[in-house]
Symmetry: C2
Subunit: 152 residues, 2 copies
């Protein structure tokens, strides 16, 4: 508070343990592109800049980026992550609120898996019955064309 906020020259910032965007990206596993993007959409605070307008990150920012990265890896959507970040930073949160977000995502994942498994089942059935040779006859195309098992 007392000290001026905008000291900030690149070399000096690095010396003081701060990171430029490249280092922050490497340290968090998020691409430089996405680091900027997350800032643009308000997932990450607007970070400080050097005189040359370079972004300057603290280790705290890197933690946030890692949090985002991990959440993305678990398939959370950006808006979910926005909420999770808010909960993370809110020390009077309830774990129920967190569990609710995770639970909804979990259900969505399961729903999608069921859907894809159904596709897989159908496709495996069809490919199993497809000769896969030089001849044109193909149950896969028959199915797509709407032929429903002529024998059944």
């Amino acid at each position: 508070m007392g000290k001026t906020d905008a000291f900030l020259e690149h070399a000096e910032a690095i010396e003081r343990g701060l990171l430029d965007i490249g280092r922050a990206a490497k340290a968090s596993g998020v691409s430089v592109k996405m680091v900027r993007h997350y800032e643009a959409i308000g997932l990450l605070r607007k970070v400080a800049r050097t005189y040359a307008n370079y972004r300057v990150y603290t280790m705290n920012d890197v933690h946030t980026l890692r949090f985002i990265k991990r959440a993305r890896t678990l398939g959370f959507a950006i808006d979910d992550i926005r909420e999770l970040l808010a909960l993370w930073q809110n020390k009077s949160r309830s774990s129920a609120a967190v569990k609710k977000v995770a639970g909804a995502h979990l259900e969505e994942l399961k729903r999608k898996i069921v859907e894809m498994k159904s596709m897989v089942a159908t496709l495996e059935h069809l490919t199993h019955h497809c000769h896969g040779d030089h001849r044109p006859d193909c149950p896969i195309l028959d199915d797509l064309a709407g032929a429903r098992k002529p024998g059944a």
Copy 2:
């Protein structure tokens, strides 16, 4: 060939068993929007028009739309469908070519399922250990924040 191609007035077209886009959409299960889109990207031929510039579809077009619809339901990408449609319409195709497209898609689906299952496993583990009550302590946030089982 002999007869002029562009008779085409709306009422007459309908009488002759042709369909306007709304009917074609309903008959195929594809939305009106997407019917136009599929034409725009060359998945469906450029259909004829009435004098008033309304699109006119044949039952053949409806079959194609159903084919596309079914393929999308099975998760095929547009470019895959483009290829499948070409194979469908090519009577000297080899079933092997069809099987190859389906097989690649199948593998991709399986890959995604494995990926999502891994997410589900992690999330279920975490939510299982989350109290989900008024207290702030939450293993889900701990995981996202990078805390790796302090006990282990």
